[in-house]
Amino acid sequence: MNGTMGAEVASTLDRLLADHASTDRLLDAAASEAPDSTLLAALDEVGLTELAVPEKMGGLGLDLDQLCLVGWVGGRRLMPTLSRLKMTLVGPLVTNGPSGEPPAGARWGCGFPAIGSAPADGGPAEVWIEEGASVALVVGERSSRVVDLGRADSVVEPEPGVDPGQGRSRLSFDPDASTVLAGADHARIVDRSRVLVLAELSGVADRVTEVSVDYARQRSQFGRPLAAFQAIQHKLADMRAGCELIRSAVSRLAWLEEPRPELTASLAAATVSVARQVAEDAIQVHGGMGFAWEYGIHLYYRRCLALQQQLGGAESLRRFVGHSIVARRKTQ
């Protein structure tokens, strides 16, 4: 795969998000609890959905490390969650499915399983949906369901949660009326989608740390910049250390020759806490501004919390990883 393709896409994405996803626009979406449809449409046009689709299926076939770069930029610019799901799940799974339908045309919603969650049984699912979506992909560990949202028994109830404006909803549907997608690559695609969540966390953490360092240099109290106080320097140093650790986790997973879902789970468990601490420290370094709606630091914190939930929640992840080591010891 062309090693510069990911960098080109990431660069395009970065410019597009800089233009279309300003803090004001992100705050508007959060306040209205509705995804920014103009932004989503612009992102669709960039072709995010094709990035993770293999070349032989007509996609761009980016390697995982290249996808991580795209995800990292998405994190820095707080890309809509639905766009990440289209890139990591809708594109690869739908194109791989029995019908081989390209996802273009229809507007898709998407939901996916938390790490260590029970297999999907066709019950209500958490999904991310935009206005006008006609179909939703409910992803499970080994198979997925395509749900027609036009049916009377498909019911979507908004549940904005901690990171509003992303279209998070609860979808009830009739499993018998849905189409099942299953393929050999299912587990790999799901694992990759989780690595991309960590890449996004890396971007969020890096960006909020940069913003905090800049603020600490500019803001003066007691006649000197905040950045001159060792108490602040050490907090910023801890934030930067956290950023390095998260990046190392992504780097480790991105270069594995074969997916290792247990390692993904373990690094996810560690990373969600590190990222959350970084975002909390960012609020603290900003003082009152960190707590202000219009300054938008809370958006990074909200995203960290939401991504933590999407991966399975910190405590569940810890218990899952704990279970794994106990099981390993007992079989040795």
Binding site: G6, A7, A10, S11, D14, D63, L64, D65, Q66, C68, L69, W72, A199, S202, E210, V213, A216, R217, A227, Q230, Q233, H234, L236, A237, D238, R240, A241, E244, L245, R247, S248, A249, V250, S251, R252, A254, W255, L256, E257, E258, L263, S266, L267, A269, A270, T271, V274, E315, L317, R318, R319, F320, V321, G322, H323, S324, I325, V326, R329, K330
Partner: protein
């Protein structure tokens, strides 16, 4: 974008050359087989017996050809990459003695001598590091120069073809076991703080060297005060040139992060496995699952960090200051493991080994640069503050 992609791409920062996954499968299997067959059993608790056992163990591993895997073959190494050392660390973790006693030599001063030493120094000092026949210690800290390392006052004056050393070092680990001391001294009393320093390789058997063991909080003579009274050191034992001591020391400290940290994590993996077994035997595993999950995930994260550092070291792209993250996080993980064990095991599951390791863990955020110094370095070098 604010930085060139080459410096920010999450994937490309770990060169795929650190192929610990499959490229070194033969080495891994050889090692595993050998270690299983030769595992010396639990290490003695008593300090001197433990040191002796660990010395024998490194010598034995060396005899089997597994020490110095990344060193050049002309100096007794195997000429492989750093990834091979990582495999050794990972496999050692499954043994009863997951440590290499001469690690300060193997992972810090050996690489520094390989980088900065003269041909004669390489020939003289490297072989004894590998088979643990010559142990190394490091003379940095002084009574008035701890975190403020550049304040060292131990002097060395050139006199003919020797340097004459006078002064005192403190907290020198394993001084009593060591043949060589990598000693940071002031060779130019007029020089500014960082510029008048040199690193000397000092024979601990020289006349005028006095070692006075200090009991640390475990009651063990792990480190010592070392006094130098007119000690003569040949000029050819200056490492990296007179006046370059600060640079040489900082290079040594940078080596200390990669493999040294990885070596420490292997011991932690072993202890974590012990903790799982012990909690299981006590019927306490269910209540500890989340805590165990935290420890496993943090160890995996520390490994990921070290692999990235090693990848950069191998490629010569390590950003100055970045390995302070390794040391800072090592201390965090190290201390949390033993504190968690103490909390969960309670009286019935705690033996003297666990208590020893909990107390000892408090040293990790102090030795070779306190956690506060690491934060200063990160703030200065990575954030430009």
């Amino acid at each position: 974008m604010q930085a060139p992609f080459s410096s920010i791409v999450p994937g490309s920062v770990l060169p795929p050359t650190l192929g610990v996954e499959s490229e070194l499968q033969d080495l891994r299997l050889d090692l595993r087989q050998w270690l299983e067959k030769n595992d010396p059993g639990p290490q003695p608790f008593e300090y001197e017996a433990r040191m002796a056992a660990l010395t024998r163990w490194q010598r034995q591993i060396h005899g089997a050809g597994f020490i110095g895997l990344s060193w050049p073959t002309e100096f007794g190494g195997a000429g492989m990459g750093l990834a091979a050392e990582a495999v050794l660390c990972q496999e050692l973790a499954a043994t009863s003695m997951p440590q290499l006693i001469n690690r300060l030599a193997l992972y810090t001063w050996g690489p520094t001598i390989l980088s900065r030493g003269t041909p004669a120094q390489k020939a003289r000092f490297l072989p004894g590091m590998l088979d643990a026949s010559e142990m190394w210690c490091q003379g940095f800290s002084e009574p008035d120069a701890g975190s403020d390392l550049a304040a060292v006052r131990t002097r060395a004056q050139v006199s003919g073809d020797v340097l004459v050393v006078d002064g005192q070092k403190v907290w020198t680990s394993r001084a009593e076991l060591s043949k060589w001391n990598a000693l940071l001294v002031r060779t130019d009393p007029e020089g500014a703080r960082h510029s008048g320093l040199s690193v000397l390789i000092v024979d601990m058997g020289s006349p005028g060297v006095t070692v006075r063991p200090l009991l640390q909080m475990l009651g063990e003579p792990h480190f010592s005060e070392v006094f130098f009274d007119g000690v003569e050191v040949p000029l050819e034992n200056v490492l990296g040139g007179l006046g370059n001591g600060w640079d040489v020391s900082m290079e040594a400290m940078a080596y200390e992060r990669g493999l040294f940290v990885l070596e420490r994590t292997t011991g932690l993996r072993r202890r974590l496995a012990d903790l799982v077994d012990r909690l299981d035997a006590l019927g306490k595993i269910d209540g500890a699952l989340a805590s165990l999950g935290v420890l496993v995930s943090k160890l995996d994260l520390l490994d990921a960090q070290v692999f990235r550092t090693l990848g950069h070291q191998e490629n010569g792209t390590l950003v100055p200051g970045s390995s302070s993250v390794d040391k800072l996080f090592l201390a965090d993980v190290y201390q949390e493991i033993f504190a968690t064990a103490f909390d969960h095991l309670s009286d019935e599951g705690l033996d003297e080994g666990w208590i020893h390791d909990l107390l000892e863990s408090r040293s990790v955020s102090i030795y070779s640069g306190t956690s506060e110094i690491q934060r200063n370095v990160i703030a200065r070098q990575l954030l430009g503050l």
